[in-house]
Point group: C2
Chain length 347, copies 2
Amino acid sequence: MMKTMAHMRVTLRDVARQVGVHPSTVSRVLNPATRGMVSPEIAERVTETARALGYRPNPIAYGLRTNRSFTIGVVLPDLTNPVFPPMVRGIEATLEAAGYTAIIANTDNDPTRAGKIIDIMRSRQVDGLIVGTARLDDPLVTECLEDGIPLVLINRRVEDGRVPSVAADSAVGMSAVVHHLVGLGHRRIAHIAGPQYLSTGRARLRGVRNALAAHGIADDPGLIVYGESFTVEEGRRCCDQLIDGGATFTAIVCANDLLAIGCYESLDRHGRTCPGDVSVTGYNDIRFMDKLRPPLTTVRIPTHEIGTEAARTLLERMRDPATPAREVRLDPELIVRGSTGPAKAAG
Amino acid sequence: MMKTMAHMRVTLRDVARQVGVHPSTVSRVLNPATRGMVSPEIAERVTETARALGYRPNPIAYGLRTNRSFTIGVVLPDLTNPVFPPMVRGIEATLEAAGYTAIIANTDNDPTRAGKIIDIMRSRQVDGLIVGTARLDDPLVTECLEDGIPLVLINRRVEDGRVPSVAADSAVGMSAVVHHLVGLGHRRIAHIAGPQYLSTGRARLRGVRNALAAHGIADDPGLIVYGESFTVEEGRRCCDQLIDGGATFTAIVCANDLLAIGCYESLDRHGRTCPGDVSVTGYNDIRFMDKLRPPLTTVRIPTHEIGTEAARTLLERMRDPATPAREVRLDPELIVRGSTGPAKAAG
DNA sequence: ATGAAAGCGCTAACAC
DNA sequence: GTGTTAGCGCTTTCAT
């Protein structure tokens, strides 16, 4: 039994020659859409010899001819943030099933890099883009839109309603968090917000405010601190600021898990315990949040599903660019753990 | 000032027409290797108009002609394991600087999937492969080798000495771990080993054994448990087995951090404290290991550097396939935290 | 130093 | 139904 030599390129023409038929016929057989145009016997023989010869279509040639690459660019702010890998897997799973391949790249939260990367991807003729780096008003997104390249935003969205996006619903998540906290007796609830030029930062802040209002708790600007990025360091800095500024509060709602971890550090340094003195909540439920000291109460977002849904939406838009741009909002789920407890008696 | 229309494809021929010269001349100018063959004035004019017109070479066409894709496949067992994202960033950084693009894919630790993915990547004409899924005896790797496709192994290596690899030196890491533990008075040291068909599992087990021997501690088979995968669940199962089997020990050396986290869970359930009753160590120092309860003593490996070095090695081999296949071993570093403490008096 | 021509592997428009 | 032809955008002989 002879092993097919995978490394020896066998072309469509080789198959044609072997079968004794014109290359275009082979092409027709191999393309599901045009297979009907060829007689069953020939089609059979072609498929057969193609397999026997170990024929592998050359996507480069195909791409040159058809202006398609069967390649999707995935632009992420930071792959080392554990929210993203599960999304990537969701994306890859859906894409692969459809015959597409993902090209993943990090921008390190740098818009300049993002521009460069999108440029590279476009020069590589990606058929579409999944972008996780969008700012609320993002010229890069606008440009893609205008140039007509299929695009889906992931995790973050943009003000411009013309661009489709898939993300978790921050209003729902924050509402659950605040409700949980209020149920524990908290009234003085601080919020460490994310960057306000990002939809996530903005929506979560609004979510907290609305939920507070719904519980009849007045808005206190002194209890809101704005993080400049979604990082542990910023979380620590913001919490320091809250404490050192003399604010009184019994709970801190953080716009994501990394900020919450920063709070842990800050509280530690200031000799305050969690949840004894202060309850803390995160957002995203990234990996290992259940192993922290204390385990973090947070909001789990369906990361894998966000990925699959984004890929699905993109494929749909590529097929039919006229598809209306939906903004998909998936429901998150509150995960109660040890970082939240009864409010300390007002002292 | 007119903005160049990025979405309108301008070809080499457009540039040629504009300059009033033959396309081949433009090609020569654009290719650094052949630029010398054209007169400086023409070269200048070509470069100029190319920029002015916003010409972007089409890599697909280039690839078809030259059989290169400027694309590298990166095959990983599991992107949600935090060891890998930093490596990916290292890889991407180096590759991007050299004009290459990475295609990343997960195998979910499934060799069948790995085969399929490598197949897809090869059909996409990747110029090289960085593989992180290699088993000690891996037919997929052998096949790539035989087919002459440039390949570098990352994190794990293979028995076959012909294939280059980049990984941290497990002997060094485990030696440091054992030395640390022995210094704390531990003599009965258990080991939760990784799969023995992986170089990492094997090398770390050997590292532990050698280090123990070096300290005059006899090998006790009853203190070694073999995990079937590098997961939290396996760590818990193995630790359960150790405890329920009645083994006596004061420390557990785990083959990676996830196994160690599993130990935490198991110890918890059995009412044993760490580090009070049992010291635990991990391996890799993935993100957040410093935030666990207790913070995990572990071995930090230079993940980013492993990535850059692997990419560098691959590029080198692609340039000159005759380059001898080095097995690069980078030095890890012991990070002492709260999960290790003095050995409990033998009871 | 430059132009002409062929062709990478494939598809699509048009003949027959 | 099948063959013919042209060409995607580029590089690379081969002439001149």
